[in-house]
Structures are given as structure tokens and as C-alpha cells.
């Protein structure tokens, strides 16, 4: 009798386990298939296209060309500058927006009249449609004739700067910093507000000044929030396209990998070469992302365990 029950339990357990596994797989499968069909398979097709000699002007003469397209891509020599632009724009915008975001988060963490309203105004740049923001910055702020900045420099006695033609790189970085500072601020503010009040009070009772408290207690506490902010900001900024397409059209060192790819893939007629650009761009983006984020990925791995 006793032996019968002990034998039955593992079987039941195994059965429920198998059922559990099957259910889990069934639940995740639709999302996986959807994602694979719309992103991974097209990428495989891109790899296939990249080995073809295929010009849209001669649609009947498609033939296999091995790595010719890749050779052509590397010979053009615009990949390195695009990689540098991508890294430059992304890292500068991330650094500036994290610093400004931290400053604003600290300022907004105090109690003052209209605090909630100030926060509402401050998050607006991040919510504003990037295409709208780019157009407003280009024509309403940076324009050399009717822009506010030109008027301001002139009113202060300076010579107006032709922002979008002379300093396109700075324009893109300024606009992106403006856009992403609120995002960084929101995450860091949430971090500040999650600090335990007791620890902060204890530190001030012990006679630590506010700067030392900030340096030794707040900053280490904020670390994981800064990591998340930088990681998410980098993911979004690496693929940024709108201000470049709208404001600078890739001039003056603003031709990032995603803009270069757009230019090659949809403006030209050479499908094979465009596909080769696509493949190389993906590889470069992944390399840039992993190098930049290797340490930050810990956040996600730690977060991966329940």
C-alpha cells in the first residue's frame, strides 16, 4: 500500500510538470512566431539579397555575386565615419542628458510650490512627437532668419550663427539632449524618491553635510537607476533617425548608421548593395551596443532571475 503511493506521486508530478512546460511554451509561442516572422526572417532575406547582383533598373538580370556587394560597401568607406557619428551622437546625448537629468531630478526632489506642475512641464519634451520637435527646433529655434536663437544672439550683440548649416552636429546633440533629459530625470527622480528616509535622517544626525550624504548615500543608491536610464537611452538613441532626416539630412558628421542605411537602401536602386549595407549596419550596431553596454547588461541579467 505504502509503496504504491510513493510510486504514484512522481508520475503525477512528472505529468503536471510536462503539462506546465507545454502550457508555458504554448503561451510564449505566438509572440515568438510573430517576432520572428516580422523581424528575423526579413533579416535572413536581407542576408540572401546581399549576395545578389540586383539592380532595379535591370530587374531581369539578377544573379549570384558572392561577396561583391560587401567589397563595394567597404570600398565606399562611409561605414567608419557613420560608426563614429553614431557613437559620438549617442554617447554625447546620453552623457549630457544623464547629467542634466540628475540635476533636475535633485531639484525636483525638494518640496516647493508647483512641484507637480514643474514636473509635468519638464516631461513634455520627451512626449512631444520627435518629428514635430525636429521641425519646431529647425524652423522656430535654429532658423537663421526667423529662429528665436538667432534673434537672441543678435539682441545680445552677437553675430547670428547659421546653426543648421554650420553646426549640424551640435544641433542634433542639443535637440536629442533636450528630448532625453526628461526621460533620464523621470527615472532618476523615481530613484531618489525610493531612498529610505531613515537612512538619510540618520546620516544628517551623524553630522554628515548634505553634499557628503549625497556623495556617499544617494549616489551609490542611484547607481542602478543610472544604469537603467543609460541602457534604455542608448537603445533608443542608437537608432535615432527623425532629427537627422528632418534637420540635417546627414550633413556635417551627423550621418549615423541608420541614416546611412536609409540613404543607401531606399534612395539608390542597387538592391544587393543596399542589403549588404543592411547586414553590415546590423553587425556594427550590435558591436557598438555590446561594447558600450557590456557592463550594463548585468542589470538585465540580474533582473532576469525572479
Amino acid at each position: 500500500m505504502a509503496s504504491k503511493t510513493t510510486a504514484a506521486v512522481p508520475v503525477v508530478k512528472q505529468k503536471t510538470y510536462l503539462k506546465k512546460v507545454r502550457l508555458s511554451r504554448a503561451l510564449i509561442l505566438p509572440a515568438l512566431i510573430f517576432s520572428i516572422v516580422l523581424t528575423q526572417i526579413p533579416f535572413l532575406v536581407t542576408i540572401y539579397f546581399s549576395t545578389l547582383e540586383w539592380n532595379l533598373l535591370k530587374p531581369t538580370e539578377v544573379k549570384f555575386a558572392w561577396f561583391e556587394n560587401y567589397l563595394a560597401v567597404f570600398e565606399k568607406g562611409d561605414l567608419l565615419p557613420a560608426t563614429i557619428s553614431t557613437v559620438g551622437i549617442t554617447s554625447l546625448a546620453v552623457i549630457f542628458s544623464v547629467i542634466l537629468g540628475l540635476l533636475l531630478a535633485v531639484l525636483l526632489d525638494r518640496k516647493f510650490r508647483g512641484q507637480a506642475f514643474a514636473r509635468t512641464l519638464l516631461i513634455t519634451p520627451f512626449l512631444l512627437m520627435p518629428a514635430a520637435a525636429s521641425l519646431i527646433w529647425k524652423y522656430s529655434m535654429f532658423d537663421s532668419n526667423v529662429g528665436i536663437l538667432s534673434w537672441l544672439t543678435e539682441a545680445l550683440g552677437g553675430t547670428p550663427i547659421q546653426w543648421t548649416t554650420d553646426l549640424p552636429f551640435a544641433v542634433v546633440v542639443i535637440m536629442l539632449t533636450w528630448q532625453y533629459t526628461p526621460f533620464m530625470m523621470l527615472i532618476l527622480l523615481a530613484g531618489l524618491q525610493s531612498q529610505s528616509r531613515e537612512v538619510l535622517e540618520a546620516s544628517s544626525v551623524d553630522g554628515a553635510g548634505s553634499w557628503r550624504t549625497f556623495q556617499w548615500i544617494t549616489l551609490p543608491h542611484l547607481r542602478q537607476y543610472v544604469e537603467i536610464a543609460v541602457l534604455l537611452g542608448t537603445i533608443m538613441l542608437l537608432q535615432v533617425f527623425d532629427p537627422i532626416a528632418i534637420i540635417t539630412k546627414g550633413t556635417g558628421g551627423t550621418k549615423t548608421l541608420s541614416y546611412l542605411l536609409y540613404e543607401r537602401a531606399f534612395v539608390g536602386l542597387n538592391v544587393g548593395e543596399a542589403a549588404a549595407y543592411g547586414v553590415v549596419t546590423v553587425l556594427l550596431t550590435i558591436i557598438v551596443a555590446t561594447v558600450a553596454l557590456r557592463n550594463l547588461f548585468k542589470v538585465f541579467i540580474d533582473g532576469g532571475a525572479r
Binding site: S24, L38, L121, N145, W178, I228, A289
Partner: protein, 270 residues
């Protein structure tokens, strides 16, 4: 002295806040100016409100583009929720090894530039007659938002106390009851946050919309640039168009700030 220092910091805060908000404020103001006033230098602060800009938006058929934006944003958000809720449930509440691997797959797809898979997608759509089709665009948006939605959603599902789920399972609740009666009510605010963020990303999306639509299915973001006029003054009408296009997301974000932060920080922010 202390009080003085406090009000000094408050003033400083407001100066920065106003500087940051200024471009948006200026867009709002210019939207209600006549073209002459909008492009005037020095800028006009006092002016007679003018609705000609808005009238021109209507004449140009902006309502159709806004409808397209709304359709693609709502439709893609629904697809994302239908796919991400079960996936996040499996990843969080019933995790098994092979499913955990899927998690890293999802986040890694987010690193791939959309442009890379776009060329074949563009050609496939072209041959199937799906270019300039709002449903096709919605599917692409759903694919774009799915990875981040699964990640966010999973972090919300992780907050469900596992004891409650196990108790329900012991009581013999089947999977559907467990999901609908027990888990979903707890994660509902999280789902709202994910939906809001997916909606915002789709509504504001410019790159894919530019490439995959031309006229019938064109959404508001690529339409905005068409107000730039090489010959005449256009700041007034451009500001009005930008304001109208941006307003739904601005209002949604202002109202749901808390959900927005929680969603964006992927549950790390409690």
C-alpha cells in the same frame, strides 16, 4: 538665511523648467498667430489670436492622417497586448528554462536597427500590394514594440505574489480562471502602462511611416513636413499642425505620468 537659500533654489529650478518647456510653449503660441506674427522678428508676444492655421489643417485633410495615426496606434497596441500578456505570464509565473531563453531573444531583437529588416519587408509588402496599407503598418509597429512590451510586462507580472497563484492552482483553478480572475486584476495598472507606452511609440513613429506609406495610409508624423513651404511663411501653420499631432500623446502622458515612469523603468521603479 536658510529660507532665502531655499527660494533661490526654487527660482533656479523654475528657470531651467521654463527653458526646457520654452520650445513647446512657443509652438503652442505660434499655432494661434497669423503667419506674419509667427515669423516676426523680434518675436511678438502680444497678438490677436488667429485660427487660420487650424483652418488650413482641416482644408489639407489632416483629419484623415490623424485617423490613420489613431488606427495604427490602437490596432498595434491591441496586437502587442494580446501577444505580450500570455508571453509575460509564461516568463514570469510559469518560468521554464527554454522559455527564459526567449526573454533574451526578445531584448536582443530590440538592438537590431529596424532598417535592417525593412528592405525585404518593403519588397514583400510591395509585391503583395501592402505598401501604403494601414493594417500592414500596424503589424510592423506591433513587431517593433513587442520586445519592449514583453520585458515591461514581465516585470509587472513578477510582482504578483506567487503564493496566491499557487493557492489558486491547489484549489483547482484552471489556467484561464487563474489568469483572468487572479493575475490580471493585480497587473492591470502595469498593462495600462505598457499600453500607454506602446501607443506613444506608435503614434510618434516617423521612420517606418515615411517608408511604408505614401498617401492613403500616411500617418501624422510624415505629413507634418509637408507644411514646410519653400516660398512663403509657414511657421504658423506648421506650429498648428505640430501641436495638433502631438497633443493626444502629450495629454495622455501628462495624465498618466506615474504609469509612464513605472513602465519606462521596466518595473525597477516601484
Amino acid at each position: 538665511m536658510r529660507k532665502f537659500k531655499g527660494s533661490l533654489i526654487t527660482t533656479f529650478t523654475w528657470v531651467i523648467v521654463i527653458l526646457f518647456f520654452f520650445p513647446v510653449f512657443w509652438m503652442f503660441i505660434n499655432a494661434f498667430k497669423s503667419e506674419q506674427d509667427a515669423s516676426a522678428i523680434p518675436p511678438t508676444i502680444i497678438f490677436e489670436p488667429n485660427f487660420a492655421g487650424f483652418q488650413r489643417l482641416m482644408d489639407r485633410g489632416m483629419v484623415d492622417y490623424l485617423t490613420n495615426s489613431l488606427t495604427s496606434s490602437v490596432f498595434s497596441t491591441i496586437i502587442v497586448l494580446l501577444l505580450a500578456i500570455p508571453a509575460a505570464y509564461a516568463l514570469s509565473i510559469r518560468p521554464i528554462k527554454s522559455v527564459q531563453d526567449a526573454l533574451f531573444f526578445f531584448i536582443s531583437t530590440r538592438f537590431m536597427p529596424a532598417a535592417a529588416s525593412l528592405l525585404p519587408l518593403y519588397m514583400i509588402f510591395k509585391s503583395l500590394g501592402l505598401l501604403d496599407n494601414i493594417n500592414a503598418l500596424s503589424f510592423v509597429y506591433a513587431a517593433m514594440n513587442l520586445p519592449i512590451a514583453v520585458w515591461m510586462m514581465r516585470s509587472f507580472f513578477n510582482e504578483v505574489p506567487i503564493d496566491i497563484v499557487e493557492a489558486a492552482q491547489i484549489d483547482g483553478a484552471n489556467f484561464r480562471t487563474e489568469l483572468i480572475r487572479i493575475v490580471l486584476p493585480i497587473v492591470l495598472p502595469g498593462i495600462a502602462a505598457v499600453a500607454l507606452i506602446c501607443f506613444i511609440f506608435s503614434w510618434n513613429e516617423y521612420f517606418l511611416a515615411t517608408l511604408l506609406t505614401t498617401s492613403d495610409a500616411k500617418t501624422a508624423p510624415p505629413f507634418l513636413a509637408s507644411f514646410v513651404d519653400g516660398r512663403g511663411l509657414f511657421l504658423g501653420v506648421l506650429s498648428a499642425a505640430a501641436m495638433v499631432a502631438a497633443l493626444p500623446v502629450l495629454v495622455a502622458g501628462w495624465v498618466a505620468q506615474k504609469q509612464l515612469v513605472r513602465g519606462l523603468a521596466m518595473g525597477a521603479v516601484k
